[in-house]
């Protein structure tokens, strides 16, 4: 058959010699490569005792932010949802009532806020779209889970701890980020 390109290499189908048939030399060659790796630097770390450093711009699990008084910043404007290329965010808005000013920063808030983490591609476009600094991607990743339903993150799963009630956890969740103005 005429070859289509000049890069064709014909396969050598000669029968193996006796030395080749006992494989000893080939095994020794392979072992040499294995032994060489004992003296190389390890690419893995001993998780969970040891944890890998994330880059400061790592995009991990989403956090719904609060302001310094502990009020939710999200106004359910829907821009994160519309920016999301995986269409993984959905929310329902509600009007803040009088007496709820300590809970929500502005006159609207998200009554329901859900992210489908199985669909999320962690691109960070939601963070970029947010006009209220209400959602950001933190420096930790989504933990594994046994059921798929557990990957639908609700508002409770996403909200940052209250800075007044739990300042330690709040600071931890905020990470390297500057406190929002």
């Amino acid at each position: 058959m005429q070859s289509l390109t000049n890069r064709v290499k014909p396969v050598d189908r000669k029968p193996m010699t006796f030395l080749e048939k006992i494989y000893l030399w080939e095994i020794a060659k392979g072992m040499m490569i294995t032994i060489k790796h004992f003296f190389k630097r390890k690419p893995t770390i001993k998780y969970p005792e040891q944890k890998r450093e994330f880059s400061s711009v790592f995009r991990g699990l989403h956090i719904l932010n609060r302001d310094e008084q502990g009020r939710e910043r999200c106004t359910a404007c829907g821009l994160c949802a519309v920016a999301c290329p995986a269409e993984a965010i959905t929310m329902e808005a509600a009007e803040r009532k009088t007496g709820e000013e300590h809970l929500y920063r502005e006159e609207k808030y998200a009554a329901r806020y859900e992210i489908n983490m199985l669909r999320c591609i962690f691109c960070g476009l939601c963070e970029e779209a947010c006009p209220k600094d209400a959602i950001y991607l933190s420096q930790t990743f989504t933990p594994s889970n046994l059921t798929r339903a557990q990957f639908i993150y609700k508002k409770d799963d996403l909200l940052i701890p209250d800075p007044n009630k739990d300042p330690e956890q709040y600071a931890k969740a905020l990470g390297d980020r500057k406190r929002p103005q």
Binding site: C77, G78, V82, E87, E106, I115, N116, L118, K154
Partner: protein, 900 residues
């Protein structure tokens, strides 16, 4: 006419202004104060363009395009640097005090101000000072007020005061403190206030009912729909998310509602989400009432094969559903679910319109009429949008006369208003009681129906002497008739409007006679008759006998199973008669969407779809068949269109199951064959398999968000998008992206135009028909060779009886409506049931204002009602609120006794 825009030559229509011309040519030019329905005032300075003297003029001058008429060979530039800079500066200055609160604003994503800001290129804020702030007002349960967002375009007051005739919204203060609102907090009085949310280019006035379940426009699944709450049939857009109907928007139809809706239509949608919805098929005789579809089918099948079956149709169910019931029970066993009195009137109206001797008028044509005569119908309360159209006719007649006198274009709004002042076109309202529309009437007269009819016949006889045989009219009546007749004679396009709410056939006959007498060679006269429900006309055209006949038949023959289609019989028929009917039926099968008095009588209950979860066709009072489309995907509940239930039963009965899906198109085709009066009805909308380049038309905008998350809380594995297959519309965001055929436009959107103002891009010309013609199919044709139908039944004048009162309904613009009253906001604005009588009648009864009265008719006792004294109700008549949530069927138009 040719004009040159940016060195390109275009053909435009003469008489338009430059802004309209540019928008018609699909060019983007920003504007605020101009509105296609309200004309130009040149207030916002946003639509500036450069106009050049001739091709050698390099300098040009800035003009406001909305204030300049197109002239032959005109040269203008939109793209000119100075013009662009001017527009950008204007918007920057408009935005100085705007709060930039788009994330919490309901208008965001459908905001004309956002669109125009982006269009002009103003993207950076330089104003660093304190913004002025206002206190907002409470404007009632329908409209939300947020004055800080205002950009002072004045559209709201121009709409509310000048267009809709309201007087409780105004503009206050001056300079940088202009305030649009009421004198003090309070409910907006106009029943057209909902349009403020679409008229306002930003978020000052927004839909308050939407706030309860707010969704951005881009997140809504939308489908073209038709309003269900009166017989006018305004076109609407129904919008859904999370399986709930979220809001209703106006769908422009140049022949019907144009840019506006009444509040009953806009806000009366909440019954779809009601707790009271029937979602589960029930068999009442069993311990476990809930039944699966196959169980219920089998059960109903055995019931209807056992005995004679009687089908009761409905004036609020679609044509398809009524026809499917007619097919199931047989033509001879199908009855209209309304009283004989109403059915008789409806038959009369059908006969009149079918004769083709006068034109059946559309709302748009009413707007263009130069004289209007209303006999016997309080259209403000029974067909609000028609009242708005009549108002335009009255105001515009004066305006167009003024504009012809000194040759200024009609769109030059403030100049025309200045010229016309209080001058108004001719309107005569001859009704039973006062109505807000009387304020703009030249003549208004309130009398008993028979007297109104006599005046009508007197006018007809004055217009064409000798035609009416019996002419024993009094001098006073003849004098009135002469005045009105003379004014009508002067008109070129007079319109005569009447209605069935008087329950008096002579009124309708008299109105028709006036229309026929006027319809001579030199003028084109049109006629319109308001009916009670959204498909009253469709049902009447089917020509079946009334409920009363069904009742008689069952009483004499006995043993029958009744199938009742989407009809609360107790709302149409006095309860004693309805009870009698249900007692003589062996079995009662009811299909309905909401629990009501009739469904309580049902042994078998089938959950029917509303306009939002089903497809169907309605015929409005004009005879215009209009298709509405499903918008709520139905994947779990048993709810389906009544016609689908009935058709399934029929196939089961006839063993004709062939495995094919059933579409409304198939039903309409069968209907065309069976009932020739519906000829052409299959063309009412594109067929279910219609596609453009193989693509369906998406119900969702291309920015629809959260597809993979929206149902994830219910089912993580994403289900296939719902597909009903009944229409050329799909339940996804994929599909044909251009302008769809006019009847299946699910929403108005165009690149750069996210707000409702994008309707410009769907019209052939601004304010004109939608591209490809306005949707809807007129079933009544004008016949040039029609023999004039003329009635000669002049009634005796009304005589006040000593102890009998004529019982007539009194409707309310917001409160009346079997379904719309489920909206909590409308319910709060609805009056409590009451009766009203003249002081003379009250004296005769020895009662006073506020007393509780009991109405008794032929032994039937109705509940007692508080009575109000009303000077304008004539003696011998009692008006009782009708159509309210609490209202039940009464023997309207009969003489009843009243007990204290």
């Amino acid at each position: 006419m040719f004009i040159h825009i940016d060195n390109k030559t275009y053909t435009v229509k003469a008489g338009k202004n430059l802004l309209e011309a540019c928008l018609t040519l699909d060019l983007d030019l920003p504007y605020f104060c101009w509105h296609p329905a309200m004309g130009s005032v040149g207030a916002c300075r946003q639509c500036a363009v450069k106009v050049y003297k001739d091709e050698n003029d390099m300098k040009g001058r800035l003009v406001m395009s909305c204030m300049e008429t197109v002239t032959e060979g005109l040269r203008l530039s939109i793209e000119d640097k100075t013009a662009k800079a001017f527009r950008e500066q204007v918007i920057e200055w408009l935005m100085t005090n705007h709060p930039h609160d788009c994330p919490v604003c309901d208008e965001g994503g459908a905001c004309h101000l956002q669109d125009m800001t982006v269009m002009t290129g103003h993207d950076y804020r330089r104003y660093n000072y304190k913004k002025r702030t206002y206190t907002n007002q409470y404007l009632g349960p329908l409209i939300n007020h947020e004055m800080n967002r205002c950009i002072q375009c004045y559209r709201c007051v121009r709409y509310y005061r000048d267009y809709a005739g309201g007087d409780d919204l105004n503009v206050f203060a001056a300079h940088n403190h202009v305030y649009f609102g009421r004198e003090k907090d309070g409910v907006l009085q106009s029943p057209f206030s909902g349009n403020l949310s679409e008229v306002c280019p930003t978020g000052v006035f927004t839909d308050k009912t939407l706030k309860e379940h707010y969704t951005r426009k881009w997140d809504l699944t939308m489908a073209p729909s038709v309003c269900n709450h009166c017989s006018v049939g305004c076109n609407t857009i129904a919008a859904e998310r999370y399986g709930q109907l979220r809001c209703m928007l106006n769908r422009y139809n140049g022949d019907v509602n144009g840019y506006f809706l009444c509040d009953r239509g806009r806000f009366g949608y909440e019954f779809v989400n009601s707790e009271n919805r029937i979602k589960q098929a029930l068999i009442r005789s069993r311990t476990n009432e809930a039944a699966t579809e196959s169980e219920i089918m089998e059960h109903v099948q055995s019931l209807i094969s056992m005995s004679k079956v009687v089908g009761i149709g409905s004036p609020r169910a679609s044509l398809e559903s009524n026809f499917a019931l007619m097919q199931l029970v047989g033509k001879e066993n199908f009855y209209q679910g309304i009283s004989e009195d109403e059915a008789h009137l409806n038959r009369l109206v059908v006969e009149m319109l079918r004769s083709g001797c006068v034109h059946s008028v559309s709302l748009k044509e009413i707007e263009q009429a130069d004289a209007v005569l209303i006999i016997g119908e309080d259209i403000w309360n029974t067909a609000p949008m028609m009242a708005l159209a009549v108002r335009q006719a009255v105001v515009k007649t004066a305006a167009s006369q003024a504009s012809q006198e000194i040759k200024i274009p009609v769109w030059l709004d403030s100049a025309i208003k200045e010229l016309a002042q209080e001058e108004k076109g001719f309107l005569a309202t001859l009704t039973i009681a006062t109505s807000p529309i009387d304020d703009i009437a030249t003549h208004s007269w309130h009398a008993a129906p028979d007297d109104l009819a006599r005046l009508g016949f007197a006018i007809a006889s004055y217009l064409q002497p000798g035609k009416i045989v019996n002419t024993d009219f009094s001098e006073a009546l003849l004098d009135k008739a002469k005045k009105i007749g003379d004014a009508l004679k002067k008109a070129k396009n007079p319109v005569v409007i009447t209605g069935t709410s008087c329950y008096n056939d002579n009124v309708i006959k008299a109105a028709f006679d006036v229309a026929v007498a006027l319809n001579t060679g030199e003028r084109k006269t049109s006629f319109s008759c308001v009916m009670t429900e959204c498909n009253s006309m469709g049902l009447a055209m089917m020509g079946s006998p009334s409920f009363s006949v069904a009742n008689e038949n069952i009483k004499t023959n006995g043993h029958a199973t009744a199938v009742i289609l989407e009809n609360d019989v107790y709302k149409h028929i006095p309860s004693a008669n309805a009870d009698e009917f249900f007692n003589s039926c062996d079995h009662v099968i009811v299909l309905d969407a909401l629990h009501n008095a009739t469904t309580e009588k049902a042994q078998v209950l089938l959950p029917a779809a509303t306009f939002a979860d089903g497809d169907g066709t309605l015929v409005n009072n004009e005879g215009r068949a209009q298709r509405f489309f499903q918008v709520i995907p139905n994947t779990t509940s048993q709810v389906q269109e009544s016609w689908r239930w009935l058709k399934k039963l029929q196939t089961l009965k006839l063993h004709t199951l062939n495995g094919h899906a059933l579409h409304p198109d198939d039903l309409l085709r069968e209907m065309e064959t069976a009932l020739p009066q519906f000829e052409g009805i299959t063309n009412v909308s594109p067929k279910h398999d219609f596609t453009i380049h193989g693509e369906k038309i998406p119900r969702e905008p291309h920015r629809y968000s959260g597809r993979t998350a929206i149902l994830a809380n219910k089912n993580v594995s994403e289900p296939k998008p719902f597909n009903d297959g009944d229409s050329p519309l799909s339940f996804t965001m994929e599909g044909y992206k251009g302008t769809p055929p006019s009847g299946v436009v699910p929403f108005f959107w165009s690149p750069g135009w996210n707000s409702v103002q994008s309707v410009n891009k769907y019209q052939e010309e601004t304010n004109g028909a939608l591209r490809g013609g306005n949707p809807g199919l007129q079933l009544f044709k004008n016949k040039s060779d029609a023999r004039d139908l003329f009635f000669n039944d002049v009634p005796e004048s009304f005589v006040v009886a000593k102890d009998r009162w004529l019982l007539l309904p009194k409707y309310d613009a917001l409160g009346s409506g079997e379904l719309s009253s489920y909206t909590a906001a409308l319910k709060t604005l609805s009056p409590q049931p009451f009766a009203s009588m003249s002081t003379g009648s009250l004296q005769a009864l020895n009662a006073k204002d506020g007393d509780m009265l009991q109405i008794v008719d032929a032994g039937i006792m109705y509940g007692s009602l508080p009575v109000k004294a009303d000077e304008n109700v004539c003696d011998g008549v009692v008006l009782v609120t009708a159509g309210l949530r609490e209202s039940m069927g009464m023997s309207w138009g009969t003489r009843v006794q009243i007990k204290k």
